[in-house]
Symmetry: C2
Subunit: 230 residues, 2 copies
């Protein structure tokens, strides 16, 4: 049994990760990040998962640096693009260096808690537009943590990314097996009352349930079809 600081956005993947780690008998402390995202509802959803499982949950306030790193449509006044997640316009949703910043904050907290590692739910479907979700990123971050914190963390300290080589629909299947309450997860980048169904992450969510053969319980405002351009 290990103690992980899991970075939990409140979306499907990171919520499944929490249930998965708990099922495996690990201790989990949840870290969410407030970076001024439009879809702040995801933070409320992360809170639900923490409360339901009695987990320590902290929301790291990084809004102080949002203005610095503001090119992304997720934090600026520009509209979030519609379309398939793998389309070029989705690159507008990239917050430069986001995962390195978030996971390094998680590593700092994990050291303070004397935890055994950090866990992230990056998956293979993210690789196309987010370079900081690939296996080589996880490896480089793990290497950096070992060097940066030598003497302050155990040699076994790990950046744990169990889904880095599997697609999102496989995560949906794992979540289904674990009875993850999908109502406690939020994907939509637009952050309206219900999922828009049209933005990249909504489409990705819909596609994951469909490919996994799971009934999607999510209410959507619209359900347009998009072809995967890859």
């Amino acid at each position: 049994m290990s103690h992980f600081v899991a970075v939990v956005s409140g979306g499907m993947d990171s919520t499944v990760l929490v249930y998965d780690l708990l099922k495996q008998g690990h201790e989990v402390s949840m870290l969410s990040v407030d970076y001024g995202q439009k879809h702040r509802k995801e933070l409320d959803h992360a809170r639900r998962t923490a409360a339901k499982n009695g987990l320590r949950h902290e929301i790291a306030d990084l809004t102080g640096i949002t203005q610095l790193i503001s090119r992304s449509t997720l934090t600026s006044d520009a509209p979030v693009p519609d379309g398939h997640y793998a389309e070029d316009n989705m690159r507008q949703t990239v917050v430069p260096n986001r995962n390195s910043i978030m996971l390094n904050v998680a590593i700092g907290w994990a050291i303070t808690l004397e935890a055994d590692g950090v866990a992230t739910a990056v998956h293979s479907g993210d690789h196309y537009i987010y370079p900081d979700c690939r296996p080589e990123f996880v490896k480089a971050l793990d290497r950096l943590a070992g060097v940066a914190c030598e003497g302050f963390i155990a040699d076994e300290f790990a950046v744990f990314a169990p889904y880095v080589n599997i697609p999102k629909d496989e995560i949906a299947r794992i979540g289904n097996t674990l009875d993850v309450p999908w109502d406690d997860t939020w994907s939509c980048y637009k952050g309206g009352d219900i999922h828009c169904g049209s933005c990249g992450t909504c489409f990705e969510r819909r596609e994951a349930f469909t490919l996994a053969g799971i009934d999607d319980p999510t209410p959507y405002a619209a359900t347009p079809d998009y072809a995967d351009p890859r």
Copy 2:
């Protein structure tokens, strides 16, 4: 000529770095970090350097994560220890993973600015207690940035750490050659009206001037002697 985001605390080393980069003809944007440090005066000193040289200067507000990563005496209510910088009690001043967090924020800003790299003034005297100041740290961070931001930064993007293998007194010599106004630099971790002269960074500052054979213009409250325990 390159454009660097330099991480500038307002201390001797990072201030010399700014003058050094400018002398070499580079463009410099300055990033300071407010992490709730007791010695906030250093931020005012960084502002002076920016103003005097007409440089863009941003202070990244990371106080929102200070409570998470709070073991250090630099940010907690515990007293900052006196003594030689290399003594074991100085390890209490370590903020877990600080340089990884700060430099990754700098990398994010550099990408937003389309700069060519980030610059840090870590030096060989820091290696003993700060693992995140060593050449292998710089190398691991450079590797991480290349992987995390592939497609968003140029292949030539670099983490530039020109002092990583030289001691602080050599930085003092470089600063002297460059006519760095030492009054614009602040070292003391206690953050009083004048440098205390007794804490680890004050002692390191005094030692650097002495070893460099430069008259130290800094007013100190006290000037105790400490032996280097290494």
